[in-house]
Amino acid sequence: MSNTLNIARKEFADLANNKYLYIVLIIFLINLLMHLVSLYNFYKEGSISDPNFVKACLFDVMYLSSIYGGVTALMIGFSSMAGELTSGALNTLIAKPVYRDTVITGKLLGCIAFMLLFFILTAILYVSSEFILCGDVMAGQLLGLFARLPFIVIIALLYVMMFFLVSVLFRTLIDDNGMALTFSVLFYFVILIIPSSSVIISNIAALLGVDKVYLLGISMIIDPKKSMVNISNSGIFDPSFSIISALSLSWLEFAKFIVIVLALLALCYISFLRRDVR
């Protein structure tokens, strides 16, 4: 256990010292600023009512952390494996008296801790900035807002874990850095665009002679963005709605995320344990 924690700590420190990752995080923070300004403008114009403001605030936190956080997670996963594989440090590490599963568990834990910390900081930064700017509309619902925040961070983390694990998997399976990242980015594009594309779904439906709405329903099963929309619509952002009820309404989407994450985790373990590290 101590070996796992040591590796996790080192992985966390490596990520925290990666200057290229900071550039990715800065791009992420620019997006956060854009959303912040946009919500503030709605507030100034008076076009958003009190309960809707908190909903919009929570939605922004989840949207930012998941959709844009997906890119960040992709880069974190790639960087965590590629850095040590390229420099040969992983060869040295697995030559030490530690199990391979300790290495991969430690690395994954370090990365997850880094992402979790980043999302928590993002959420706190976003909510506190909005509170400073538009405190009067949020004051009455602060408790409801903070009670929902941990759930939203966990949902976002589950979502981005898919992209993180995919990039770890690709980098473990493919020796070439460029190729591994290209495949990861390609996966990101394909999974976010194809299932939700009405053009492609209409084309396939016409070709197969099936109903477009029916096919769209099937494609939504594999569309992670749609799952996030379903979770959003369950009332999780609404302070007047119970969190438990909201979670029970969207349990299927949670189960889907958990199954995908577990399957990818298993694939990452198998590929890392069985593959020669070069």
Partner: protein, 268 residues
């Protein structure tokens, strides 16, 4: 020029063998074929229409995917062209040969551009041929040919600008992992972030310098209906799009010159 061509040919044959080109081309071609094969059912749903639905629906439906997937190819082969050779040490060997640095840089750029031109022409041809086979021809062959040629050229220019940006990143950043991370993030953020309103309020018309995707789609339809809408005469579209096309070309030249200057000043 004599030094540029062999390097361009070598670059062309090197990247042709990259499996990622085959994978992305296969996904794109499949989307284009499915679009063509379903056109017999899908296109008539939009009739009657004042525009030629062959272009407005058939070809236009594939514009986003064609530009997206070709941008992915352009970005990654662009960043890796110099960065990979530098990390393997083969760039040192190449620079030790009696060739100018400009030959190496522009040779690589030319080689990549040739491949992208072939990919773009193949994609558009495949898309159009599939629609021709399964649905039928356009209302006016001459008009369609002019518009399709311009469409192909614009998609190609979009790829060339992506390659120029990618080469600038590849030359300016020394660490290959850093290069890949920056290129990947830039690509994802460029295609997934809707920053138009924000950039408009902040930068006005200068927003087009920041967002390549925004500039590309504005060229396609600067004022309302665009290149693939036949109700807008080609001449009118061209007059509207000319300033944006000029900006696009200038951006390519500026980025390419910057990348070359960075490569030339490199102490590799």
């Amino acid at each position: 020029m004599s030094g540029v061509l062999p390097i361009a040919m070598n670059e062309f044959s090197r990247i042709m063998r990259q499996p990622i080109i085959l994978v992305i081309a296969a996904i794109l071609f499949l989307i284009l074929l499915v679009n063509g094969a379903s056109s017999a059912q899908v296109i008539p749903e939009f009739l009657p229409d004042k525009d030629d639905v062959f272009l407005k629906v058939g070809v236009s439906n594939t514009m986003y995917y064609t530009s997206l997937f070709l941008s992915v190819v352009s970005m990654f082969i662009g960043v890796l062209s110099i960065a990979e050779e530098r990390s393997r040490g083969t760039l040192r060997v190449l620079l030790a040969k009696p060739v100018f640095r400009k030959d190496v840089f522009f040779g690589k750029f030319l080689g990549i551009s040739m491949l992208l031109l072939i990919l773009t022409v193949t994609s558009v041809t495949l898309c159009v041929s599939a629609i021709l086979i399964f649905y039928g021809g356009p209302l006016s062959l001459q008009d369609a040919l002019i518009r399709l040629s311009t469409y192909t050229m614009l998609i190609f220019l979009n790829c060339v600008l992506t390659v120029a940006i990618a080469m600038l990143i590849g030359v300016a950043v020394k660490n290959i992992l850093g290069i890949l991370m920056l290129a990947g993030s830039l690509l994802c953020f460029e295609w997934f972030i809707n920053i138009e309103d924000w950039l408009s309020s902040l930068l006005g018309s200068l927003k087009y310098i920041i967002s390549q995707k925004m500039l590309f789609f504005t060229i396609m339809g600067p004022t309302g209906p665009g290149l693939l809408h036949t109700t807008m005469p080609y001449q009118v579209w061209l007059e509207d799009a000319a300033p944006y096309i000029t900006a696009f070309l200038l951006e390519i030249i500026v980025v390419l010159v910057l990348a070359f200057l960075a490569f030339n000043g490199d102490d590799e």
